[in-house]
């Protein structure tokens, strides 16, 4: 896939890998960066989608899903990562997989200064509780990166996050 196509198609690429990896539960706090992936998941009758009020609900929920034999993915933006930190203790103490797909804000041409604090602290916050972090900044690497993260989460029983760079998503333009 060339760069221009990849820049448009990355949410579909993620969706394809999730299907391929047998992910059947998708939970999310609504997010502009994940708009297409959320819509595709909802449209898929084989997938159970759950809208959350706050991101840590998804950490606990997917731990329950996995106990019951189902694989899931948690979609959020970087501002929600801090909410999840204590709940990740469930994954660490029990060696329960977790796949977090995080769209980044506050890192690349950001217009909203209030996104910067959590955006700049996202990777450190995750790593401070032992979450394995992969960066995805080049859309042509989407499928490889998501697949590697999903494999590591589900086959090695670890919490793994993919930080999808703001450069890839494009900055949010407010009405001029």
């Amino acid at each position: 896939m060339n760069e221009v196509d990849a820049a448009i198609a990355w949410p579909d690429e993620i969706y394809g890998v999730l299907k391929d990896m047998d992910v059947s539960q998708v939970c999310y706090v609504p997010d502009a960066g994940h708009k297409i992936l959320i819509e595709r998941s909802i449209a898929d009758n084989q997938m159970t989608t759950v809208r959350l009020t706050t991101e840590e609900e998804g950490v606990a929920m997917l731990a329950g899903s996995w106990l019951g034999g189902a694989k899931g993915a948690l979609l959020m933006q970087s501002s929600g990562v801090g909410n999840c930190i204590n709940m990740v203790g469930i994954n660490q103490e029990c060696r329960i997989p977790l796949l977090m797909l995080v769209t980044m804000r506050g890192e690349w041409g950001e217009f909203n200064p209030w996104q910067t604090t959590m955006g700049q602290g996202t990777q450190d916050a995750l790593e401070s509780v032992g979450v394995i972090v992969h960066r995805l900044d080049d859309a042509t690497q989407t499928a490889d990166t998501i697949r590697a993260a999903a494999r590591q989460a589900f086959l090695s029983y670890r919490p793994v996050a993919v930080l999808i760079g703001q450069r890839m998503i494009g900055y949010k333009e407010f009405a001029k």
Binding site: Q25, T48, V50, R51, L52, T53, T54, E56, E57, V59, A60, M61, L62, A63, G64, S65, W66, L67, G68, G69, A70, G72, N86, M87, G89, I90, E93, C94, R95, I96
Partner: protein
């Protein structure tokens, strides 16, 4: 807040309820609810939380969605539930018919030293669940009401939210396994058999 006296013994309540569980899957909220469930008798289909405060009910949601043919019961404390109030909305919207949550409500944070909690000041957890749209909410103050509760929790279409008002008498400490990897491996093996190894 209320004039009613809570006289039920929490250990007795949890034992009575679990006597009717059959093959139900049980998740317990951290602290006293975990000890109560362990005291009622260990079971490989118990998943004991020792942390993740606020996450017990919504963990039950994930399990209920993954296992639609099994009944899932979450047993937790009023303080633990209060930390996950948003999950009342999330669960109501997801509407799993096989999920029930039972809150052991002592109107206190027992585990941390019996400090007063919001339910003691009049906050109605069941009312919040009802307002969110849970299919059934109920409250038990008496032994008769507890006896009537088991068939509701395990048989009626959910999501069901039950509050049980209990007294604050001290109970002996009964601790289940503490190693999370052992708890989850045992649970998955009992539930999924060979598929647990996947």
């Amino acid at each position: 807040m209320t004039d009613k006296q809570a006289t039920l013994d929490r250990r007795d309540v949890v034992s009575r309820i679990l006597a009717g569980r059959e093959d139900a899957l049980v998740i317990t909220g951290l602290g006293s609810a975990t000890w109560d469930t362990a005291a009622a008798g260990d079971n490989p289909l118990n998943f004991y939380l020792w942390g993740g405060m606020g996450g017990a009910a919504v963990m039950g949601l994930g399990l209920a969605l993954a296992q639609p043919d099994r009944r899932v019961l979450v047993i937790t404390g009023d303080g633990e539930m209060m930390m996950g109030l948003g999950t009342l909305a999330t669960i109501a919207v997801a509407a799993p018919s096989n999920l029930a949550v039972m809150v052991i409500d002592n109107e206190r944070y027992g585990e941390t030293g019996m400090q007063e909690g919001h339910t003691g000041a009049g906050v109605d957890l069941g009312g919040m669940a009802a307002a969110a749209g849970w299919r059934k909410t109920t409250i038990a103050w008496t032994e008769e009401e507890v006896n009537a509760l088991a068939p509701i929790l395990f048989k009626e279409p959910g999501p069901i939210f039950a509050t049980v008002k209990v007294n604050r008498d001290p109970v002996p400490l009964v601790l289940p396994a503490r190693d999370g990897t052992a708890i989850r491996a045992r649970f998955r093996a009992a539930l999924l058999g060979e598929k647990a190894a996947e």
